[in-house]
């Protein structure tokens, strides 16, 4: 297949010094960045046409470029939208253009707010997901797993593996991530043993997660895929919501993903990886401080009231300090657990879900979805149906096994 063309609609990337990083990330996933060509008259007319008045000329240029993509004057397979982090006017334009492109063109689109510290590595997963959605629609349309396949998800905190046969999960392994290869081998061996399947009988393998590139080589994987795509597929598959709209939320150990899905294919998505206070790590630390196992934190939270605890910060350090202060004043452990879950959910809601179209049902996946207080807090915040599918913690591995079965017939 020919190179994927990603139209870049941005302000400030060249002055931030990270344009080369954007292009490098695209190149690594077989894509090419293009800039829609615009006449000066089109820039001057863009505000009135789009209906949004802005003061910065480069933002006017963004509006004109977005119009060019939507009206078909620029042909592109996907769109990357970027503005500077902490620019309020830029954030408004970025959001409205993302919505506009998504609604009017149907092209896969991703947006990002960058600083001078943004690197190609930071952008790689997002760019990989963007190009996958653009070029592998037939693979993503797969709704059933066939044959015998394996999926391995090398996450930042845990490594998961599943063995699937004829649309059923036969066995799985779930271990803490230490050495990428050793953890994967351990999880995979457990999954094989539990399923009673011989290693040689596995017809196709898919790998995902942070360690996917190493695992791809070591396991001779048919599919090496980022988490946005496989988690979306895994979520709608396990929740049995393959048709129609859904929103997938994965609060991970190191980053969070919020993905707006239509018929199992990701549309708009965000990845947050800046603040540990909005991650599973925060809940782990809370559990440790409360002296309970992480698997018990959720139940504890369900019988608590978050509003009884005063949380002054979302920060993993200062937030935990608030919880500790509450405990020293005699707060109930249940309330502290509930407050921790609410804090994570609220931060995801405020910082990530504003950037995607939240459409019910909301499917929560990943190991944190099993901490019952977290989906409960999300339910309260969103006032929407929140589903935690079976095997939610194995989402990446299941998505990989499902998608890799597409390679058996090839």
């Amino acid at each position: 297949m020919s190179e994927i063309e990603v139209a870049q609609i941005s302000c400030g990337s060249e002055y931030t010094g990270i344009q080369g990083e954007v292009e490098s990330a695209a190149e690594q996933v077989g894509a090419k960045i293009i800039f829609p060509d615009i006449d000066l008259e089109e820039v001057e007319a863009a505000e009135a046409k789009f209906g949004l008045r802005v003061t910065s000329p480069d933002l006017k240029l963004m509006l004109a470029r977005a119009i060019s993509v939507v009206e078909g004057h620029t042909t592109a397979d996907a769109v990357f939208i970027g503005t500077c982090f902490r620019c309020a006017e830029g954030a408004l334009v970025r959001n409205e253009i993302r919505r506009y492109i998504h609604d009017k063109s149907g092209l896969p689109v991703i947006s990002y707010s960058y600083t001078e510290r943004t690197t190609a590595d930071t952008l790689l997963t997002r760019m990989e997901a963007l190009t996958t959605i653009a070029k592998r629609r037939s693979l993503l349309a797969r709704e059933k797993q066939t044959g015998i396949t394996a999926g391995i998800d090398s996450g930042s905190t845990t490594t998961k593996a599943v063995i699937m046969k004829d649309n059923e999960i036969l066995g799985f392994g779930w271990v803490s991530s230490t050495d990428v290869l050793k953890s994967a081998e351990e999880a995979y061996s457990t999954a094989l043993k539990e399923s009673g399947i011989e290693r040689d009988a596995v017809q196709a393998t898919g790998v995902t997660g942070y360690g996917r590139f190493i695992l791809g080589k070591a396991f001779n994987a048919d599919l090496v895929q980022e988490e946005i795509t496989v988690n979306s597929k895994g979520a709608v598959y396990l929740a049995d919501r393959q048709k129609g709209a859904a929103t997938v939320i994965d609060v991970g150990g190191m980053d969070n993903k919020a993905i707006s899905v239509q018929d199992g294919i990701p549309g708009i998505f965000t990845m947050g990886g800046i603040c540990a206070g909005a991650s599973g790590r925060f809940l782990e630390m809370t559990a440790k401080r409360l002296g309970v196992d992480i698997t018990e934190l959720g139940k504890l939270a369900l019988s608590g009231t978050a509003s009884n605890i005063s949380m002054n910060s979302y920060c993993i350090v200062f937030g935990i300090q608030s919880l500790v202060n509450s405990l020293s004043k005699g707060a109930r452990h249940e309330d502290v657990a509930a407050a921790a879950c609410y804090s994570v959910a609220e931060q995801v809601f405020e910082q990530q879900l504003q950037e995607v179209e939240v459409r019910a049902p909301v499917i929560m996946v990943g190991g944190t979805a099993l901490i019952e207080g977290l989906p409960q807090a999300m339910r309260e915040l969103l006032q929407a149906e929140v589903i935690v599918p079976p095997y939610a913690q194995l989402i990446g591995a299941v998505g990989s096994a499902l998608l890799s079965s597409g390679f058996i017939e090839e």
Binding site: C11, G12, S13, E14, Y15, T16, G17, I18, Q19, G20, L40, V43, E44, T55, S56, P57, D58, K60, L61, T83, C84, F85, R86, C87, E89, G90, Y114, T115, E116, R117
Partner: protein, 153 residues
């Protein structure tokens, strides 16, 4: 001859006018040229690297967007060297622009704070206004004399 800071900093018309009146225009093109012709820097298209927004911290704190600070690193040598300035407000994009309104606001403030001779004009929208625009620039530039006089004005 005085060093004249022009804004919009990439305005070819302002650049040309300043040169015609025997002064040295300070324009962003000169800074970009230095970067793109410096061997060893590979950060296209402008060869601004992620280190540049850190240089911009001289003018704006870290909570200011990196794009503003990167632009400020480009403009820094020009602001430092400025002995007089011509500022044109509300100019159309074709006349020249730095792309970012926040940068324009900050640069305007910094130049005014330098207490150097400044001519502030609005972009002309009629033939009469355009003639007056050029006339005022010529009067300003002719009145500057050499750099010493400009500094003392």
């Amino acid at each position: 001859m005085a060093n004249i800071f022009i804004y919009p900093s990439n305005s070819l018309i302002l650049y040309d006018l300043v040169e015609r009146f025997d002064h040295a225009p300070l324009a962003v093109m000169q800074e970009i040229k230095k970067r793109v012709t410096t061997a060893g820097i590979d950060s296209p298209p402008l060869n601004i690297t992620p280190e540049d927004p850190k240089i911009g911290l001289k003018y704006a704190a870290v909570e200011v967007p990196a794009g503003v600070r990167g632009r400020m690193s480009l403009l820094d040598p020009l602001i430092e060297a400025a002995e007089a300035a011509i500022f044109v407000e509300d100019a159309p994009i074709g006349f020249g622009c730095m792309g970012c309104q926040r940068t324009s606001e900050l640069v305007g403030f910094l130049i005014r704070a330098k207490r150097i001779p400044i001519l502030e004009l609005t972009y002309p929208t009629s033939d009469d206004a355009a003639e007056n625009f050029v006339y005022r620039i010529s009067e300003f530039l002719n009145g500057l004399g050499d750099s010493k006089e400009a500094k003392n004005e």
